[in-house]
Amino acid sequence: MRTELHKRLLSFARRPDAAAFDALALDVARYQVEALPAYGRFVAASGGVGERWDTVPPIPSELFAELDLCSQPPREDGKDRIFKTSGTTQGEALRGRRRVPDISLYDAAMAGPFIAAVLGGDQSPRRWLSLVPHPRIMPTSSLSHMIGGLAEALASETIWAVDLEGLDLGRARAALSEGDGPIVILATAFALFDLLEGLAQPPRTPKLPAGSRVMLTGGFKGRTDVISEGELLARVKRQLGIPAELVVPEYGMTELSSQAYAACVGQPFAPMPSLRFRIVDPLTSVPLPAGQEGLVACFDLLNLDNVSAVLTSDLGVLDADGRLTLRGRLAGSMPRGCSLTAEELRSLVREP
């Protein structure tokens, strides 16, 4: 069953067909229910898969920190590819992790939407400046994997200016000052802010050639005190010469294989064809219509070996075309009292 589904998904990734999404999603969900008993139990207790992609019970993304939600057995050599969420102050035990033994679907699908959204449909090789660590340095980062794969396929040259120590400003400055032709910058919001701060110091870096672009990901995750989105864009224009319409936000997460892109900052995220969003009421889990704010749930066809229906902690609103505007995160409830929190307990009590 998996082999046949994998083939259909690969075909979908290469030639997306919106009309085929629903049937494929149900087949994927039914396969996951069978192949991943923990998810099967969850779905059974939640009323079953249902009849459409948006009736498949979504698993809360927090469970990726609790369980190995992968239907394939771990490799005997222990060298499974594992993507992890960024570190938390609570330590390793609380990081979400997704084991991805077969990366072929991920890799097959990512280029097309990236070329369309970030490169404006222009595949001609350009120089890239990555403010995301190289996948060799950060093999557990799905973002590093994505940029590594895309760079290999699409860039004429890639300068990796961030490592575990942080931003290598000299390297970034050199990349921006040398060469000719437009450059593509791939950055998290924090890394881009660090770059702009560094470039504000002499020597002055010339503005980039016309057509240069930025892919921006990650957001500020509760640290909007650092800089607002508007200020960041203004500085990108002022310091790099890249206008706001060529700064393309990307939305992705460790738990998913597909991504979404917005035309520019302030515009909604359009999911790539293998991904769909829906919004549910945070209190009741009831699906909400377009225009109403709630929790973002996703169905990612490409998560074949994991779980496709995922409920995030992100808040957002959909438009009539299924595009997503993010409205922040549903923050954890405030601790009230001197008890160990669930997170502290989890880090204290290991699996036997």
């Binding site: 139990r41 207790a45 939640s46 809360p60 469970l63 929790l295 409830s333 009292g337 001197c338």
Partner: protein, 327 residues
């Protein structure tokens, strides 16, 4: 009688008025003059010197925990400096308003100069908080001063599936008191026998208790519970909800953190699981002690878990003697 500003400050943390009243009343009821004098006599006797100034650092804890430490120091005749947690300054101010010998000293946790200054004014320092807070304060307290650390702990219950209804009613009260916040609230129950049976029997008792002790709905709480209930369901457990609470079974016995706000795990009883969690266990709600009740664990009848008596030596530290202990 509860002071109005203390009640308001407690409700501002997020508790409904009935929950705040019930919790504050329970703590105040302990502070009977005769009982306090007798307990001081038992713990301290004529031992001198008693502290003249005590600093109580309350790191985002329940008002009841702060009240207990403040009142204990006051009962020994000390002046008390209260450093409330950020965002909960009103608790310290309310305690100070009721007693001129209590001084609320708000300062940021990162303000080490203010911390050193207040430590310098004190003979004894009581810290309520997480390990990181406790250790950071400990490092600044001179050896000559008493240091009374109370780190974070968790509590649980241990009941048979045929436990009497009184015990289930008591457990429901322990769950709903302070909305399950604090280190004395049960986060899970180790069940001897049929775990699902106990869950089914417990639910109506929770429903009865929560009618008098409402908890306001909060989407953040619902979301946290959704994840916890998914953990139960993926493991083959069962989940039941009442008006404000969620009860979930899990086939494994190991201690399992609840997201709080009235989410109770029901786990198969296991002495191994109890023993392995012992260093972090504050109170065990049970009708009789299991065979291996860990040292320093308080055994409480269901219904009294969140109502510790004056002679409770939290973390093995007697309430009054820990402030007077000889150098």
């Amino acid at each position: 009688m509860i002071a109005a500003d203390l009640l308001r400050a407690t409700m501002a943390i997020g508790f409904s008025e009935p929950v705040a009243r019930r919790g504050l009343d329970a703590e105040l009821a302990v502070w009977d003059d005769t009982a306090v004098r007798a307990q001081i006599e038992r713990e301290v006797g004529a031992r001198e010197p008693r502290p003249k100034n005590v600093l109580v650092i309350a790191a985002r804890t329940l008002p009841a925990s702060t009240m207990r430490q403040v009142y204990a120091a006051r009962a020994l005749g000390a002046r008390v400096i209260v450093k409330s947690a950020s965002g909960q300054e009103a608790i310290g101010e309310a305690l100070a308003h009721a007693d001129p010998q209590v001084v609320a000293t708000p300062f940021a946790s990162c303000d080490t100069a203010a911390l050193d200054r207040t430590i310098g004014e004190s003979d004894a320092v009581v810290v309520l908080g997480g390990d990181e807070t406790v250790e950071s304060v400990r490092a600044r307290v001179p050896l000559a001063k008493h240091f009374v650390p109370h780190g974070h702990r968790a509590s649980a219950a241990w009941l048979a599936d045929d436990a009497p209804d009184d015990a289930l009613r008591g457990l429901a009260e322990d769950l709903c008191a302070w909305d399950q916040a604090g280190c004395l609230a049960p986060q899970w129950v180790w069940v001897e026998g049929d775990v699902t049976r106990l869950m089914t029997r417990l639910a109506p008792h929770v429903e009865a208790v929560e009618r008098a002790l409402p908890m306001p709905p909060d989407p953040r709480v619902v979301h946290a519970r959704r994840a916890a209930s998914a953990i139960a369901l993926t493991a083959g457990g069962q989940v039941t909800t009442t008006g404000t609470a969620m009860l979930a079974t899990h086939p494994e016995s190991r201690a399992r953190g609840s997201p709080g706000h009235r989410f109770l795990w029901l786990l198969p009883a296991s002495l191994d699981a109890l023993t392995s969690f012992a260093p972090h266990l504050s109170t065990l709600g049970a009708l009789a002690p299991p065979k291996a009740l860990p040292r320093h664990t308080r055994l409480a009848t269901p219904g009294t878990m969140q109502r510790p008596p004056l002679d409770w030596a939290q973390d093995g530290l007697p309430l009054f003697a820990s402030l007077v202990r000889a150098h």
